[in-house]
Every structure is written in structure tokens, then in C-alpha cells.
């Protein structure tokens, strides 16, 4: 079961709702959740993760705000098509670029070598771009 792959790490610095947001995005990136696929309901996911349903609802609200999932009244919650919210997409892309910058500063500060950081980035690329293309549609790529 795919949603069983969301795990809560009690030692994480991230609040539980952010962990859920992050893990769902990761499952989508890795193709384990496909666009337009039905998501577990708040109630189901809360029962599987054994976390407060209010926390899961908060994570879903955030995912919906970011255009990652869409809720259809009476039908449930679905994985969004990648370009369904272009404005939000731009915001997320620029935030992602800034995050990458911060990670590089941190890595440089810790004395990580140029080859090491390249290897790590390459490792992650191998994980998510196996077919040589991004998981989303062409509109999700930066010009």
C-alpha cells in the first residue's frame, strides 16, 4: 500500500504536518502516486499513521494550496496534474531554487568538497530522473 510508505519520524526537526507534505510530494516525484490518482482520505491516512486527523487535514490543506493535490467535493482528494496551478508552480520553483542555494552555502561551510557535492546531486538525479525526464509535464521545467 502506497500510503503505508509515509512514515512519521518522531526525531525529525520537521513538524508532523510538514513531514506528511514532504513525503507525499516525494511519493509523487518517484511515481508511486500518479497524477489524478485518488489519495487516502484524511480519516484513512490519520488512522494508518496514528496521528491527529486535524494534523493530516492541515497537511492536505497545504498540499492543496501548493497545487499538489485537488479535492473534489463528494468524490475525494486526488493528485493534481502538474500544470494545474501555474502561479503556484512559479512560486514553488523559485523557492526550490533558493533552497538549493541555501544547501550549497551549508555544504560549503561544512567543507564538503566539490566532487562530493556533485556526487550527491548525481545520486539524487539518478533516483528521480531515471528516464531522463522530469516526473511532471514539460511545463514543470524551468526555461
Amino acid at each position: 500500500m502506497r500510503d503505508a510508505m509515509i512514515r512519521i519520524d518522531e526525531k525529525s526537526a520537521l513538524p508532523i504536518y510538514e513531514q506528511i507534505v514532504h513525503r507525499i510530494k516525494e511519493l509523487i516525484s518517484r511515481g508511486m502516486l500518479q497524477p489524478e490518482e485518488k489519495m487516502p482520505s484524511v480519516r484513512e491516512l490519520a488512522a494508518r499513521l496514528l496521528v491527529n486527523p486535524n494534523t493530516v487535514a492541515k497537511a492536505y490543506q497545504e498540499l492543496e494550496r501548493q497545487g499538489v493535490i485537488v479535492s473534489v467535493r463528494g468524490k475525494g482528494v486526488f493528485v493534481a496534474r502538474p500544470a494545474s496551478s501555474p502561479g503556484m508552480l512559479q512560486e514553488r520553483l523559485s523557492r526550490l531554487r533558493a533552497d538549493l542555494g541555501r544547501l550549497m552555502v551549508e555544504a560549503h561551510h561544512l567543507g564538503v568538497s566539490r566532487t562530493q557535492i556533485k556526487d550527491w546531486v548525481e545520486e539524487e538525479i539518478e533516483r528521480y530522473w531515471r528516464d531522463g525526464d522530469a516526473g511532471g509535464s514539460s511545463s514543470s521545467q524551468v526555461d
Binding site: 490519520a46 491527529n52 486535524n54
Partner: protein
Amino acid sequence: MLAVRHLHKSIERRPVLKDVSFELRPGMVAGLIGRNGAGKTTLLKTMAGIYDPDAGDVLLEGESVHRQPEIKREIVFLPDNPEALFGYTAEECARLYALIYPRFDRAAFDEMIRRFGLPANRKIRQLSRGMKMLASISLGIATRASYVLLDEPTNGIDPIAKQQVLTLLVEAVSEGMTLLIASHAMGDLERLSDMILMIRQGEVETREIADPARGEAVKLQVVFDGEAPAAWLASPQVIVLEHVGRVYTLLVSREDGDAKLEELRRMRPLVLEELPLGLEDLFVWKHGGRNDEDR
């Protein structure tokens, strides 16, 4: 809303609750934490109308639990050991509860005991500790009362029973029930709660789970350059949580400003890293380190 207003309660002339006030909003989960003997059970029993307060009141939608006993049907107390049920079978308990609680959901109760394999025709006394707790919580949830007050629901039960208990609690919240859970299992409370009530020296403080320390303290990992500064470490704003080799894990209070943190930065430690401050840290900090006694 369930409102606790200026509650005072003494047990054997010892004041246990001193002017306790807070509110539970519908649909929320509140965790109640405090040292053994701090008054958690007394608070729950007074809220449920089992104890009468010496002063103050508990109001459900504005109506007093202590003056209108029928309101008690909306507030269920589940003790850490359900001794009152010991002489009955689960079947008998269900019939008894159906007489007391008008919305008692027999079908839901039967489904829960079937799911957990609880024997319907053995006396509760004969069940394992985990099974006793599951029977008690299943009954409590099947009442469909608006508020369920639980005293250490996961204490002393095996990991599988504990998961089953947590599943029941999460399902109850999905049904719209409001829970108040007294527990020492900080990890469980972090997963389940929206809000934390901390009881200490008869008083109750309220904190949001997302930010329990409200920036009033920071947790740090520190490695000093050279010898550790004994005087700084001994200052009242600093609590040493752990000290392994050269690595110190510290809580530094910011209630009197950031002077202590400034002093630390000026010492130029080799490592100075902020860690997430969890519920357990809050607990230790508020109880003044690990050697403090309540009462």
C-alpha cells in the same frame, strides 16, 4: 465547548488544583502532562463530575457539570485501570452503558470488540491489561459522548495493544469527539495532540503542540573549545540535558532575555547547533531539570 473555570480542589487537605482554568474546543485533542502526583487524575475526575470541586466550575456549553448531573452523559472518564467494570463481561458492560448513555452505539462497540478479538463473555477482570484498556476505551467511544477524558490509556500495555488503543483514539477524533489524554508517553502526545496542558504545583498552563516552548527556551548541542565553562553551565537559565564526552545537550531559557546565549556565542564553541525542542524537553525545562520533585 467544555470550560474549566477557576477550579479548586483539595484531597485530604492538600490543595491539588489551585484556580485552574482552560477550555477544550470541540474536535480537538488535548494532552495533559505532569509529574506523578501533580493532580492529573484529580483534574480529570473533577471535570467528569466524579469529584465535586471546592470552588469553581466545569461548564459544558455554559451548563454546570456539577449542578446538572445529566450533563455527565456528555463527558466520559476512562480510568487507567477500569476496576468498576471488573465484575462484568463486555456484553454486560455494553447493556449497562446503553442504559446510561442515550446515544450508545451498540453496533460500533460490537465492531470494535470483534476487531480486537475481545471475548464478549469473559469477565473484564480476567482479561489482560491491554484487553482491559481496549474494552474500556471501546465502551467510552461507543457512548458517542462529546468529551472523553482518558487517564494514561497506553500505560503498561504491549506495543500491539498500544497501536490498537491509538487507532481507536484517532478514529474517535475523526468522528468528531473531543479528547483529553493524560499521559507520560510524550511521543504519543506529540502525534495526537493539538494542545498541551501542563499541570504543575496545582496550576495548569496551556501550550500549542506546534510550538510548545513559544520561543521561551532553546535546545542546543554544544562542544566547547577547551574546558567546559562550569560557572556558565551552573547558571539557573541553563539545564544540561545530556553530557556525552565533549558534547553537551543544553536547554537555555530566554525568559530573562538572551544574555546567556550571547555569553555562549562569545565563548566561540566549536559546535553550536540548535535542535528541535520537543515535549519531553519542555517538561524537563518546566520542572527545573531532572532533580526536581513536585508537591
